[in-house]
């Protein structure tokens, strides 16, 4: 899976590439509009992450070029501009997602994966990890082939974990993933805790192992180790 990261802030581009490479993606970076334009015309990518504000051009331009020559590429906008107009414009010209800076790398990773899944299989495939199987279309979860009933948030939480295996997820990033960033209260961290407790219990009940490891003070990690 090839991903192009268009971002002028070198450090941020590096972080994204680092994170996504660990997740098994092949990443390339473009720091300027013209670099991006060239790469987009020469190579084929499964997903492109585009920053809107570039020193020598507007990210919207790259998206328009992409849509013309390679319409199957998934596009995620990452931008510091969080106006509704920008978001609407981004979606109108054909991007698939819009993330406002600062964002969590784990969230970006989850969205890239979900986008590629949707692009390649139309979402009509199963996600299997050890004894856990998730039917994405029907939103059903099976642990050791036994159907496990999860609430909507527990399902979202499990999917977020499965997209970020072996990665420490902060409580804040989980809370934001589940409820969006409008829920900026201490209560949401309590809720994360109780949802994780329930998810863990439900997986154990069906004979699964306890994969959720809590990292003191920071968050949680879904890991086989």
């Amino acid at each position: 899976m090839k991903i192009l990261v268009v971002e002028d802030e070198k450090g941020l581009a590096e972080s994204i590439v680092d994170y996504l490479t660990k997740e098994g993606f092949i990443c390339e970076v473009a720091n300027t509009f013209w670099q991006a334009d060239e790469k987009v015309s020469l190579y084929q990518y499964d997903c492109t992450i585009v920053d809107l504000t570039l020193p020598d051009g507007d990210g919207f331009g790259i998206i328009q070029t992409l849509k013309k020559i390679a319409s199957t590429t998934g596009i995620i906008i990452i931008s510091a501009r969080n106006t509704l107009e920008d978001k609407i414009k981004g979606l109108e010209i054909g991007s698939d997602d819009y993330m406002t800076k600062p964002f969590h790398l784990s969230e970006l990773n989850a969205r890239v994966k979900s986008l590629i899944r949707r692009r390649n299989f139309g979402g009509n495939n199963d996600m299997i990890w050890r004894e856990i199987r998730v039917q994405l279309q029907a939103r059903n979860v099976f642990v050791s082939e036994k159907e496990t009933l999860l609430s909507r948030k527990e399902y979202d939480l499990l999917l977020y974990f499965l997209s970020n295996i072996d990665v420490v997820l902060t409580k804040e990033s989980i809370a934001e993933h589940l409820w969006g960033d409008h829920m900026d209260s201490a209560d949401s961290l309590d809720m994360v805790y109780s949802h994780i407790k329930n998810l863990r219990r439900k997986i154990l009940e069906k004979g699964g192992k306890d994969y959720i490891q809590s990292i003191y003070g920071i968050g949680y990690k879904f890991t086989a180790a």
């Binding site: 972080s15 600062p102 948030k153 409008h182 829920m183 209260s185 209560d187 809720m191």
Partner: protein, 414 residues
């Protein structure tokens, strides 16, 4: 109005002058007749009623006892000799001696003709004065309309002017010095306003980008860092602190930028919205946390709340009030949603307010020192309300904090 009074006064004066002149004329003629009568008596020393005085009625009555020699004029109403009507007469009464006996003689002259004259003159005068007045009025209106036209043109252009748009203020050149000066001043003001608006807008956009990008970098680096397996407890603590600080800073930056944008009136897209409807939708976003804190929602939504407002601002407004009401609520508390025509109230149970309620809507005023809130939520709410001329009030009554929003109802005549 003043001219109407003057016209009325002139009319009345005219009426009296004409009346005086007619009386004078009639009285002179009556006096001449009195002399005729006296000379007739002097030569004949007798009087019979079938005399040659045709037009006038002459009444001769013998008087006994005291009399004075005064000659008196008087208005009287008498039966007309020919028809049955009663007409006005002017009567001259004097005393004379006929055949050695004193007699009172009254000579009367009909004034019907004279009254008709007065009426005709008055009618003509009223008509002409009215015509004069109307034409003066029309003339002045047209004159002032023409004179003030550049002013009204300018006024209507200013009313249409929108400083958030790129078009500059275009005013027609006026020949009148005062108006062209006014136009120049207005143009300068509009240009300055547009320039300020634009630079503030650019500043908020730049500030947003320039601050959020390094924050994104800090966030990303911290996230990468926490993946390392050999973190000691103190390391985790420091990293957590850095992470929290950067998140708070990011939220603070977003809040302040939002405030600046609202103050700068950059949300120009408006739609006809029902806040009560939006509130109900918004409540479902908070469903999880309401269940989690076991907060009981009590709804008393009697009426819709229609308002012309930017949808994004309406969303922020309700979100901030609701999340505020939930954050300061305690477990097993209550949330009250109340609406009436042009009124919306969101209340919550909670601990007593320690701060001054007057200062609740100020920036960076927070009740609890919770690191999660940056203290801008209610300031943003207040700013949005100010932008849409909504009245906002905070009330505290028996452990229930409420925030009410009231829309001033514009009168039909206003």
């Amino acid at each position: 109005m003043a001219s109407l009074v003057i016209y009325l006064a002139v009319g009345i004066a005219f009426y009296w002058i004409i009346k005086y002149m007619i009386y004078d004329e009639i009285e002179t003629r009556l006096k001449v007749e009195m002399q005729d009568f006296e000379s007739f008596i002097r030569s004949h020393d007798t009087w019979n009623n079938n005399s040659y005085f045709v037009e006038n009625k002459i009444e001769v009555m013998p008087v006994s006892g005291e009399y004075n020699h005064a000659v008196v004029f008087k208005d009287t109403l008498l039966q007309n000799r020919y028809d049955e009507g009663i007409g006005p007469f002017r009567q001259l009464t004097f005393y004379t001696i006929i055949g050695g006996v004193p007699h009172r003689v009254s000579i009367r002259k009909s004034m019907i003709e004279s009254y008709k004259l007065i009426e005709a003159i008055s009618a003509a005068m009223v008509t002409f004065l009215c015509l004069l007045m109307i034409s003066m009025f029309m003339f002045q209106r047209r004159l002032s309309g023409k004179l003030w036209k550049p002013f009204y043109d300018t006024l209507s252009i200013i009313k249409e002017f929108d400083l958030t748009k790129k078009e500059k203020l275009q005013l027609p050149q006026s020949e009148v010095t005062e108006f062209s000066e006014l136009d120049d001043v207005l143009k300068k003001m509009a240009d300055k306003m547009q320039h300020d608006y634009k630079s503030l807008k650019e500043f908020t956009e730049n500030a947003s980008h320039e601050i959020q990008t390094p924050l994104a970098l800090i966030n990303a680096r911290v996230e990468q860092f926490i993946q390392s397996r050999d973190l000691s407890e103190s390391h985790t603590y420091w990293i957590e602190e850095i992470y929290h600080a950067s998140r708070r800073m990011s939220r603070l930056n977003q809040g302040l930028l939002l405030l600046a944008k609202i103050e700068n009136q950059q949300f120009t897209d408006t739609e006809d919205l029902d806040l009560v409807d939006l509130l109900k939708n918004k409540l479902s976003d908070f469903e999880d946390i309401l269940t989690h804190k076991q907060i009981d929602v009590k709804m008393d939504l009697r009426s819709s709340f229609q308002i012309d407002m930017s949808p994004s601002l309406a969303d922020i407004l309700l979100n901030n009030i609701l999340s505020n009401a939930i954050r300061h609520n305690y477990a097993n508390g209550q949330l009250f949603l109340e609406s009436d025509e042009n009124f919306l109230k969101i209340g919550n149970t909670g601990n007593e307010l320690k701060a001054d309620p007057e200062r609740l809507f100020e920036r960076f005023k927070k009740e609890s020192a919770g690191a999660e809130s940056v203290g801008l939520g209610l300031a943003i709410v207040k700013q949005i309300c100010d932008n849409y001329a909504l009245e906002i009030e905070y009330t505290y009554h028996e452990t229930i904090h409420s925030i009410g929003i009231r829309q001033e109802v514009k009168g039909l005549t206003g």
